[in-house]
């Protein structure tokens, strides 16, 4: 057992330096099982070794923050004795290999992160990025991922209320499946993973352990010999039914005082859950692997410790509470077993069939894991593009129809109709709006939720792109009337060992941090997914942001549908006609260039607070924030949502008409207010020093744009609807 070949070490993803660090920490060579344990604990996924140094710069505290990063999910106080628990996580690589199961188990994993902390999950969101629509794999991947998310979320009964879908060739070989979950817990009963104290029983509950998802490369190693083919590693298969039982049983047990610490078995299963519990609690842990419930015969300690079988939990019980736990798990038909106990040794000791098979100090596995300050080249931001350097389209109407029917802007109804977005009967606003609204059960308060990032902006300027992701999330929450509370993030990038990629990561994190600080929007949880590269080509930098806000009174909320004839449409915020890195530039003009729209965080805050105050005062009838596709696209979405047209008359523009209509300047909203309240809104804007411009009136069955020196452009709603709704179903049907 003593000499592990350099090949085996390399197959475990450890560098020679890392290996000597292990030998040094142990004062001897590790055996294969111990090497496996180090390899997963020191993986990028568990140790954040490339990103931790930069993640530390993010603002993570605030008056409402109960738990920031470091726990299974972030916890934010909602008042009235409740807290929201939320996090976003990626399942990118598994979803590329097997889209249905990969996405399904991604949902399962993030749900466990939330209910491990004692929260009942109440909402899911999915942020998805796929390759070019015409790439041969894309359609299959889209269909599989969407049905996998549906298959898991629908079954467990947590509504999927929002998300994002983008297409870009940079994701051809590396799709992104980021799933966010939010849950509600009593704020004084949050469960964490720190297992303090010795002599407490360690309980395993949930599905039996199989050979699922054991790291492929390690399979070639000596231990498997001739039967290697038979024992081939398999992808994880999700079982939402067992997860539902696990959820209900855990919440039932959490209502007693049986649980001292709890941790779900996610990536690196039994290894990371047991190490984390003991390391965080400053204790030690001893497991007898002969008692682990196994699905297959002849499983080795190595396989048990590295298995990624789904739907499993590890908990430390108060001594004497075993009977209570057993009764509840029996009721829910779940396998449970005491597999060990906590100690005070600061070590993890594993035994199997009466022998000690691993004996490791916890420090080097957890807190003292490697931490890198990788070389990073600061990116060169793309230069600003003057609005008049982009020629006007020949046919404005055609351009608008093409844009709303494009892969990135068309209606996502085909996706979200497959998600049960109403289960729970608390969904007040499902997918399709700015932010989703989910009522806090039994109250008149609600959560608002959104997921945002614009990868093409991040590619052009990672710092501004990072800022923009946070600002857009904040804006989406604001647009429904919510007070933004906090964010989670999912940093998806290429290979951090390349200084250019590391430069993107650093700049994006700095951008996120700057915006989060300026908007009082702390980062309370997150996830990092690196090495998203195929054949040396990385994905667009994609720091996805998930955000939660609070509506303290459901009666003061806004929707973006145009409803009332004669209402006055106004544009909040300043328009310069910024076309750099815009969808118009890419999809209509065929150019991917220019700086993304600059994000002025104080304007963002001022304009947003102004809009929220209008909503709270009941002065507005419709609100929509502006993002991809700019003003024209926002107006189409508002018209279609309410099945009402509008007449827009634009005069004295600061830039060419097409730049005004399609520019993606930030910090903007369209609002509609009653005709007799318009003057008051104008006055209020003046007082708040918020730029405001009248656009026209609501009514009719067409969207009409008029300006000096041009014949009015009028498009009937059914034409807009066909263009907007048509793309997705057609793409899927081939």
């Amino acid at each position: 057992m003593s000499s592990l070949s350099p090949d085996i070490i390399a197959e475990h993803g450890l560098t020679p330096e890392e290996y000597s660090r292990i030998e040094h920490a142990l004062g001897r060579a590790p055996n294969l099982l111990e090497l496996g344990i180090f390899s997963v604990m020191w993986s990028e996924h568990c140790s954040y070794k490339s990103s931790r140094r930069w993640l530390k710069t993010l603002p993570t505290t605030g008056p409402r923050v109960i738990h920031g990063p470091g726990e299974n999910a972030g916890v934010v106080d909602l008042g009235e004795g409740l807290a929201v628990v939320f996090k976003m996580e990626s399942h990118n690589h598994p979803s590329f290999i097997e889209p249905f199961q990969g996405a399904a188990t991604g949902v399962g994993g993030i749900l466990r992160d939330v209910f491990t902390m004692g929260a009942r999950p109440v909402a899911l969101l999915d942020a998805l990025r796929f390759g070019a629509p015409d790439h041969p794999k894309t359609r299959h991947l889209v269909a599989g991922v969407v049905s996998g998310i549906a298959g898991y979320g629908n079954c467990i009964g947590v509504p999927t209320v929002g998300g994002e879908v983008n297409f870009h060739p940079s994701y051809n070989g590396n799709i992104l499946v980021n799933v966010m979950c939010a849950g509600i817990a009593p704020s004084d009963r949050i469960f964490t993973s720190a297992a303090r104290g010795a002599g407490n029983p360690v309980l395993y509950v949930g599905s039996k352990t199989g050979r699922d998802g054991i790291h492929g490369a390690t399979m070639a190693s000596a231990e498997f010999g001739a039967e290697a083919e038979e024992k081939r590693p398999t992808v994880q298969v999700g079982d939402p039914f067992t997860e539902k039982l696990l959820l209900e049983a855990c919440l039932e047990l959490m209502a007693t005082d049986a649980i001292l610490a709890i941790q779900d078995m996610g990536a690196a299963g039994l290894t990371s859950s047991s190490v984390e519990m003991a390391a965080k609690g400053g204790s030690g842990i001893e497991l007898d692997l002969s008692t682990v419930p196994c699905r297959e015969e002849g499983m080795t300690p190595y396989e048990m410790m590295l298995s990624e079988s789904q739907e499993r939990m590890l908990m430390v019980l108060r001594p004497g509470a075993e009977g209570t736990a057993k009764a509840i798990f029996d009721k829910w038909d779940l396998d449970a077993a005491i597999i060990g106990r906590t100690t005070d040794t600061g070590r993890m000791v594993l035994t199997f069939e009466g022998r000690t098979v691993a004996d490791l100090p916890l420090g080097p596995l957890a807190d003292e894991a490697p931490l890198y300050d990788r070389p990073h080249h600061p990116p060169t931001p793309a230069p600003l593009l003057a609005p008049d350097s982009v020629p006007a389209p020949q046919d404005l109407k055609g351009a608008l129809l093409a844009l709303i029917g494009s892969p990135d802007l068309s209606s996502r109804r085909w996706v979200w109709e497959q998600y049960d977005h109403m289960v729970g009967a608390d969904t007040v606003l499902g997918p399709g709006g700015d932010a989703a609204i989910v009522r806090i059960h039994g109250s008149e308060r609600a959560l608002a939720l959104t997921a945002d990032v614009t990868p093409r902006y991040c590619a052009a300027d990672p710092f501004e792109g990072g800022k923009q992701a946070v600002a857009e999330a904040w804006r989406n929450l604001t647009a429904v009337g919510a007070t933004p509370l906090a964010i989670t993030d999912n940093l998806n990038f290429g290979n951090p060992e390349k200084p250019a990629i590391m430069g993107q990561i650093v700049a994006a994190i700095q951008g996120l941090g700057e915006a989060a600080r300026a908007l009082d929007f702390p980062v309370v949880s997150g996830n990092v997914s690196l090495y998203n590269e195929t054949e040396g080509k990385a994905i667009l930098p994609t720091p996805a942001v998930g955000a939660v806000g609070l509506l303290s009174d459901l009666s003061a909320r806004a929707h973006f549908a145009l409803r009332g004839d004669g209402e006055v449409l106004m544009l909040v915020g300043e328009t310069r006609g910024h076309l750099g890195a815009s969808l118009f530039l890419r999809d209509i003009a065929g150019r991917e260039e220019g700086a993304p729209p600059p994000v002025d965080l104080s304007a963002e805050k001022r304009n947003g607070n102004f809009v929220r105050s209008l909503i709270e005062a009941g002065s507005v009838r419709a609100v929509h924030d502006l993002s991809d596709g700019g003003l024209a696209v926002a107006l189409v979405e508002m018209a279609l949502a309410g099945r009402k047209g509008a007449h827009v008359r634009l005069e004295g523009l600061p830039c060419p008409l097409h730049a005004f209509l399609f520019g993606e300047d930030q910090a903007r909203y369209v609002i509609a207010c009653p005709a007799d309240g318009a003057d008051a809104v104008v006055e209020a804007a003046k007082a708040a020093r918020v730029p405001l411009r009248r656009l026209g009136t609501v009514g009719g069955t067409s969207l009409v744009f008029e300006t000096e020196g041009m014949d009015p452009v009028s498009i009937a709603l059914p034409v807009l609807e066909a263009a907007h709704r048509g793309w997705f179903p057609k793409f899927i049907d081939g």
Binding site: I97, E98, F100, Q101, S207, G210, R211, D212, E230, K231, R232, T234, V235, V237, G238, D239, F241, T242, R295, E296, S309, D333
Partner: protein, 80 residues
């Protein structure tokens, strides 16, 4: 002619449906069921009557649509 395609989970892949059925059978009083695994069968009516062509065609269908090669294996039977 007719083709029958049997699709089963590869060994080692967890079968939650089979496990739930096995438990349910136990509860219904069928004591001796040690394990259940669930597979699918597709019965295809084919226009061709050329066995070799049919086999090649059905194999291609399995690879492209009927089976998920990552977690499933398949077996083809042909009959007139």
């Amino acid at each position: 002619m007719k083709a029958r395609v049997h699709v089963t989970l590869k060994p080692g892949v967890v079968d939650p449906e089979g496990a739930a059925i096995a438990r349910s059978l136990g509860r219904l009083g069928f004591g001796g069921v040690e394990a259940v695994r669930v597979g699918k069968v597709f019965e295809l009516a084919l226009a061709t009557s050329d066995t070799d062509a049919a086999r090649a065609e059905v194999e291609a269908m399995c690879e492209k649509l009927l089976a998920n090669p990552v977690i499933q294996s398949y077996r083809i039977e042909l009959a007139d």
